[in-house]
């Protein structure tokens, strides 16, 4: 079950073939290497189109979202493996 976090994070992105794929995320001074994007979806909030990603570092599952107007990333939730 996803634990709600709702904190700003930093992300390193690979832009390839018209797709943005998160590669690393920085949360609480720790870098997590993203092994796989499990699901991506979009959500419209007014004019802003939020990009949601469900990603895993091979152990934890993260729900992250990109806000294009402020160019910021947020970690919405995490399912820790330990």
């Amino acid at each position: 079950m996803l634990e709600e976090i709702n904190e700003k994070i930093a992300c390193e992105i690979l832009f390839k073939k018209g797709k943005a794929t998160p590669r690393y995320l920085l949360w609480k001074k720790r870098w997590y290497k993203i092994e796989k994007v499990l699901l991506r979806w979009e959500e419209r909030k007014g004019r802003e189109l939020l990009r949601h990603f469900s990603v895993t570092d091979g152990c934890n599952t993260f729900h992250i979202v990109f806000y294009p107007e402020s160019l910021t990333w947020k970690l919405l939730g995490i399912d820790k493996c330990d």
């Binding site: 499990l38 699901l39 979009e42 007014g46 004019r47 599952t61 493996c81």
Partner: protein, 392 residues
């Protein structure tokens, strides 16, 4: 799609895979099961049952709050996959579609090949499985899709109908709900075969145009074509409802919720440039007694506040004070598109300009950025603006 919402959640969070997952709507445990994974179904967890009951049946199930934007996005992407194989795609619901592949056979050699490719594409992209039914018409294709679940494929051709029809109950046919099943049962029509053998004139006499359609359904025939999106008919009604986290008897609170629902209906109507002439209000009390009343009005409207005023009058005519209310619903019907009906006695132009300005702001910054003062306040926000908070 098989257990669509639950499958999408399992794809988004692999720790849910192989576990009983219940996707719930509503607030807390007062909501209902939207869908459940196949792991939860042997325990009797079905769509539509209260969450509290579902958790009694399967106490170790994992509850996940429904996330409409996620399912809507995945659904659209899956529909895009269908369009790779045929332009004749009729979206039947968020997780169901009819495809007419007659014209695509020269490109993809066979129906089986198309089905295999579609199933592979969906599984690869979204980790979701689907059941496919094939038939000469929509009725039989839909029926076939329910024969081999999950992740199956079945076909029903016209020649199979005589063997199947004696076994198939009328309730299994798409379009025959519990009410009609009960009504047909009174005339000893319980199977598809009974329906086919019943005289068409008797059915037409009892059910009108539907009676003739029912007779064809009994024979396994369905003349309706696959209607792609560019042939869709306009909506006949639009509505919203909400089940509260706790029962409410305070009239002021109910009024505010009615306004919130009415504003949402008005906004949707304006988005598609429609107006309606009939407002219907539904109330469900805590003992599940449900009352619904509608009233036609003189003008075509799409302003949330006008819908609210009309709805309030209707609600006052039947709402029993001091009785706890569980659910409120508002809908507008008798819809027409593009009609412009200025009011001779009110400042119509001013109201239209105001609505247009508010719509523009809410388009830009999100729903209810600008709202009526009645919708302000922490208490109302708790009830209506966060209805899908995670269930515990």
């Amino acid at each position: 799609m098989n257990a669509f919402f639950a499958s999408v959640e399992q794809q988004a969070n692999p720790t849910l895979k192989g576990k009983p997952v219940i996707v719930g709507t509503g607030i807390g445990l007062r909501g209902v099961v939207s869908t459940s994974s196949y792991e939860a179904r042997p325990y009797g967890v079905k769509s539509g049952i209260p969450l509290r009951e579902a958790l009694k049946l399967c106490p170790h199930a994992i509850l996940v709050p429904v996330d409409p934007s996620k399912y809507e996005f995945v659904s659209k992407k899956i529909m895009d996959i269908f369009f790779k194989y045929t332009p004749l795609v009729e979206v039947f619901s968020v997780d169901e579609a009819y495809l007419d592949v007659t014209g695509s056979l020269r490109l993809f050699s066979s129906v089986d090949n198309i089905i295999t490719k579609i199933k592979e594409d969906i599984k690869r992209e979204f980790g979701v499985t689907c059941s496919v039914g094939m038939g000469p018409n929509k009725l039989l294709a839909k029926l076939a899709s329910s024969l081999d679940k999950p992740d199956g494929f079945a076909r029903i051709m016209e020649e199979d109908v005589p063997h199947l029809s004696a076994k198939l109950e009328v309730s299994e046919l798409c379009g025959i709900g519990p009410g009609l099943t009960k009504s047909l049962g009174k005339f000893n029509i319980t199977t598809m075969k009974d329906l086919a053998e019943c005289d068409v004139e008797i059915l037409a006499d009892r059910y009108g145009i539907i009676g003739r359609k029912l007779h064809l359904m009994g024979l396994g025939k369905d003349p309706s074509p696959v209607l792609p999106y560019f042939h869709y008919e306009d909506a006949k009604s639009m509505g919203h409802s909400i089940t509260f986290g706790e029962d409410i008897s305070d009239l002021m609170k109910i009024k505010r919720i009615l306004l919130w629902l009415s504003e949402r209906v008005g906004r949707r109507l304006r988005k598609v440039k429609m107006r309606g002439k009939k407002v219907t209000i539904g109330i469900r009390y805590s003992d599940f007694t449900t009352i619904s009343k509608g009233r036609s009005i003189l003008q075509y409207i799409n302003d949330g506040y006008q819908i609210y005023k009309c709805g309030l009058e209707i609600m006052r005519s039947f709402l029993e004070p001091e009785r706890d209310v569980r659910l409120v619903a508002v809908s507008v019907s008798r819809l027409v598109k593009g009609i412009y009906e200025p009011d001779l006695f009110e400042d119509f132009e001013k109201r239209e300009r105001l609505l247009s300005a508010v719509d523009k702001i809410n388009d830009r910054f999100g729903e209810f950025t600008v709202k009526r003062a009645l919708l302000l306040g922490k208490h109302i926000r708790k009830i209506i603006f966060n209805p899908l908070r995670p269930v515990k």
